[in-house]
């Protein structure tokens, strides 16, 4: 594992809200091509870790490095520009926009023409608009959403909205994709679909994927490595089978008495 330098590296990261220590002393790294899960009981700080990586919160201590450069405390949009994209626990699509426009918006990052291009509408602008639409449609095609490209995104089914969120995140051309509870609210069949989808995305785009998930089947089924958080600290890290056997993890999930029994 250590032959290649890791893509994302968190060392000693901690954050406090007032007196509450949400995450502390968190060391973690992920390399290109890896699919890693981040699990833990409710309130363990998983989403907080996501929010630190994506710049929603600035960590109170520790360092966050992405492909060699420090991204500590950068604004979320800057971090996305570095190549980190995310989805949200509760779907956050741009509700008034069509499916394809949701994806186009994420391609904004890579535009050559800006406001004045949009006003002048010269050839360069028109060519770029064309390219952007093609790229968005291609991405939608890969995920089977191209048919609905011009439909309002609100009209999509729940599962398709989740998929659109992933497509939108991919449109920023990330190297690391963070998925925040993508299986939430899905039925078993949808979950199986989702697992295939995540693995496919990771291979197709050559990404590092970090997955926060409650559903053990999903996490154990697709992750190569799993980190476990409890009360803001990492209590275990390893392969799915190692984690399943880890006494501390079992205790964290099921309570102490089970261990004693």
């Amino acid at each position: 594992m250590s032959e290649s330098k890791s893509l994302l590296e968190l060392s000693g990261v901690g954050i406090r809200f007032g007196g509450l220590v949400a995450v502390s002393g968190f060391d973690f790294s992920i390399s290109t091509g890896e699919l890693v899960g981040l699990i833990g009981p409710n309130g363990a700080g998983k989403t907080t870790v996501f929010n630190i990586i994506t710049g929603v919160y600035a960590p109170s201590e520790g360092a966050v490095r992405f492909s060699g450069s420090s991204i500590n405390g950068l604004a979320p949009n800057k971090i996305t520009a570095f190549g980190i994209a995310r989805t949200f626990q509760n779907i956050r699509l741009f509700s008034s926009l069509s499916v394809v426009d949701n994806v186009r918006t994420a391609l904004n990052l890579h535009l050559q023409t800006g406001m004045f291009g949009a006003l002048w509408r010269g050839r360069k602008f028109r060519e770029e608009e064309h390219r952007v639409r093609i790229e968005a449609l291609e991405l939608l095609e890969i995920f089977g959403l191209a048919k609905m490209a011009d439909a309002p995104c609100r009209s999509l089914s729940y599962g398709d909205q989740r998929r659109l969120e992933i497509v939108r995140a991919l449109a920023t051309r990330p190297r690391l994709l963070l998925l925040d509870e993508p299986a939430a609210g899905m039925n078993p069949t949808e979950k199986v679909e989702l697992m295939k989808l995540i693995r496919f995305t990771q291979e197709r785009f050559g990404l590092a994927v970090l997955l926060v998930e409650h559903d053990m089947k999903v996490v154990m089924g697709i992750c190569q490595r799993i980190a476990v958080l409890e009360y803001g600290r990492k209590i275990a890290e390893g392969t799915p089978s190692e984690i399943q056997k880890n006494q501390r993890v079992i205790a964290a999930y099921l309570g102490e008495e089970v261990v004693d029994a």
Partner: protein, 306 residues
């Protein structure tokens, strides 16, 4: 030195009035999370109710001037409270689940409606407001002067603040108000009748605004249909300054704003600020506080969950 103390005293009486209005903003924000733009106009209605109550009741009270003043104050508070409850019931209640912006626009509509209806009813020209208590200054300590009205303002607003504190901290409905402001869903699940609590909050806030209006009118001795706009906005600034949602904060913010405003006008030459900038003081404070401490002096921080 004496002059400074005198200015501060004057500022305190103005600040007490801002505090009374600000409490209404902050209470409504506490339970509904929105800025009741029409609050300043409920204040105005309080002043006009006071004027008409005074005229009607005056013939019946020859000697008992204090009793008359008390009745005018209570009557105006009752009328404004009714109006506040009515406004919430008619305009805001149908919008309870709608985006906050929709409610804000409605509040602007209610504000305009009250202002222009008042203009239609009472005319646009300023009307004189009678002195409810005999005028004249009480020669205070060390050459400080406080008029009868100012003394009344201090005493009654102090009493009202205590009464409010009692209601919020020691009664069932006060407990329900606090529960609602902490977590509306949980409060409803625990059997709090949200609609009743919201109505009560509007009534309470409006009554306090009416008391402020009677004092304001007594100090400046003139009222008009648009008199509520500026004091309303300034009281809102006071609420934000103290930390919106916090009752002690609103009181503190009101007092600070009243004192600062009076001092800026009183020392305009020394400070190099023309007295005409008086009405801009509050907004400058607002912008500064929102930039540097948006949660206000005594408020709590809120973060959006991601």
């Amino acid at each position: 030195m004496n002059e400074l103390l005198q200015q501060i005293l004057n500022g305190l009486s103005l600040g007490a009035i801002y505090a009374l209005i600000a409490l209404g903003y902050t209470m409504v924000y506490g339970v509904l999370r929105f800025i009741n733009f029409a609050h300043g106009d409920v204040f105005m209605v309080g002043a006009f109710s006071g004027l008409y109550l005074f005229r009607w009741l005056k013939p019946f009270f020859d000697g008992g001037r204090w009793l008359l003043a008390a009745l005018v104050l209570l009557g105006a508070m009752l009328i404004s409270a009714t109006l506040g409850v009515l406004v919430e019931w008619l305009a805001y209640r149908p919008l309870r689940e709608k985006p906050r912006l929709t409610v804000l626009i409605t509040a602007i509509g209610v504000s305009l409606l009250l202002e222009y209806s008042a203009q239609l009813l009472f005319g646009a020209a300023p009307r004189g407001f009678p002195s409810l208590v005999e005028g004249g200054a009480i020669g205070g300590i060390g050459g400080l002067h406080a008029s009868n009205v100012q003394v009344l303002v201090f005493l009654v607003s102090g009493a009202l603040l205590f009464a409010l504190r009692f209601i919020v901290m020691r009664t069932r409905i006060g407990l329900a108000m606090r529960a609602l402001s902490l977590n509306p869903t949980a409060a409803a699940l625990m059997g709090v009748n949200i609609s009743v609590v919201i109505s009560f909050t509007f009534g309470l806030g409006s009554a306090l605004a009416a008391a402020g209006a009677i004092f304001y009118a007594s100090l400046y001795q003139a009222i008009d249909p648009f008199m509520g706009v500026l004091p309303g906005l300034k009281a809102f600034v006071a609420a934000v300054l103290g930390g919106i949602g916090s009752l002690p904060g609103a009181a503190l913010g009101g007092v600070i704003l009243g004192v600062v405003e009076t001092l800026v006008v009183g020392y305009s030459k020394e400070l190099g600020i023309p007295p005409g900038y008086r009405d801009a003081v509050a907004f400058v404070i607002l912008i500064l506080i929102l930039l540097f401490k948006p949660s206000g002096l005594l408020g709590k921080n809120h973060r959006e969950k991601v």
